[in-house]
Symmetry: C2
Subunit: 150 residues, 2 copies
DNA sequence: CCGATCTGGTTTCATATCGAGACCACTTGC
DNA sequence: GCAAGTGGTCTCGATATGAAACCAGATCGG
């Protein structure tokens, strides 16, 4: 049986995260959820995703604790999908993707959307990785170590 | 013709980024590249990816300017795949995924790897989103606006 | 310097997954 | 009460994936 490979057990948090939200649609659904989308039809028409796919993705994301269903906020009998605390934790992943996309995937004159702080109306700052002492780090200032429990 | 949907033209940097690196393997390949993996065989045995898939992914990532080939650093006639500047820009995406995975996908006693600053040996700080004025922002302190060129 | 092995792929094949659209039950609007 | 909207499920053909066979050129052992 040819099955999609899972790297859940690889012990790397990146692999495990991608095992959960690394498919084609999940992060786009989550992005829309951050933008306030809650209803099945809104997701479907906004993303152009096939209904069957969307149903599967919403079920998986709910089962994995990233979304949860709630009664419709407008009082109708329908339900809504909203981000859990765990799901909201993906915000910085979305922001990191957004900043990379803005930097590398647009021509200088291409229109694009922008993330701003509601309070000030100004664009947010760039994400930065810092050491515990506050120093800004680049990729080659860091390394991955194995933590063993032995 | 049923083709995998592309959201390149949606005007959202997140969608455009996922169009480039949003498939199952790309970010894992890039993660390994950050960890110093450079040769075809290293990627293949490390990830357990099928050779055909790996060849396709390496070609795509190279064509999209995320990897580039270079002569082998050990003087042999083989080539190596190394991250371009654009590819290195994905570091914070990997870090964001790593931190989310560490927070939400491990039991308290499960062994995991950790990202440390080489200089101090201490774990890196959490990523934070800040406004232009330095204030830390959460997801509902922000909004996405359309920038029009009209 | 010659055969064995390693590297870096390509090709082929069976199966899994995806996208499109038909279909359907329940809800809501009129 | 009936038409339209919502939130799905089912089926089908097209595509992508994983495994394995195969292969050319580079390297290694002797």
């Amino acid at each position: 049986m040819v099955k999609r490979v899972s790297l859940w057990d690889a012990g790397c948090p990146v692999a495990r995260a991608l095992d959960v939200i690394g498919d084609w649609w999940s992060l786009l659904i989550i992005r829309d959820a951050f933008d306030g989308v809650r209803r099945f039809n809104e997701f479907q028409s906004g993303l152009g995703i096939a209904k069957g796919m969307l149903a599967t993705r919403l079920r998986d994301l709910t089962a994995r604790g990233i979304l949860e269903t709630a009664p419709a906020s407008d009082g109708s009998a329908y339900k809504e999908y909203v981000l859990t605390e765990k799901g909201r934790g993906l915000f910085l992943v979305i922001v990191a993707l957004r900043q990379w996309g803005e930097d590398h995937l647009y021509g200088p004159d291409e229109p694009r959307s922008s993330l701003i702080a509601t309070e000030t109306g100004a664009p947010v700052a760039r994400l930065e990785l810092r050491a515990g002492n506050g120093r800004v780090l680049t990729w080659d200032d860091t390394e991955v170590i194995k933590i063993s429990t032995i």
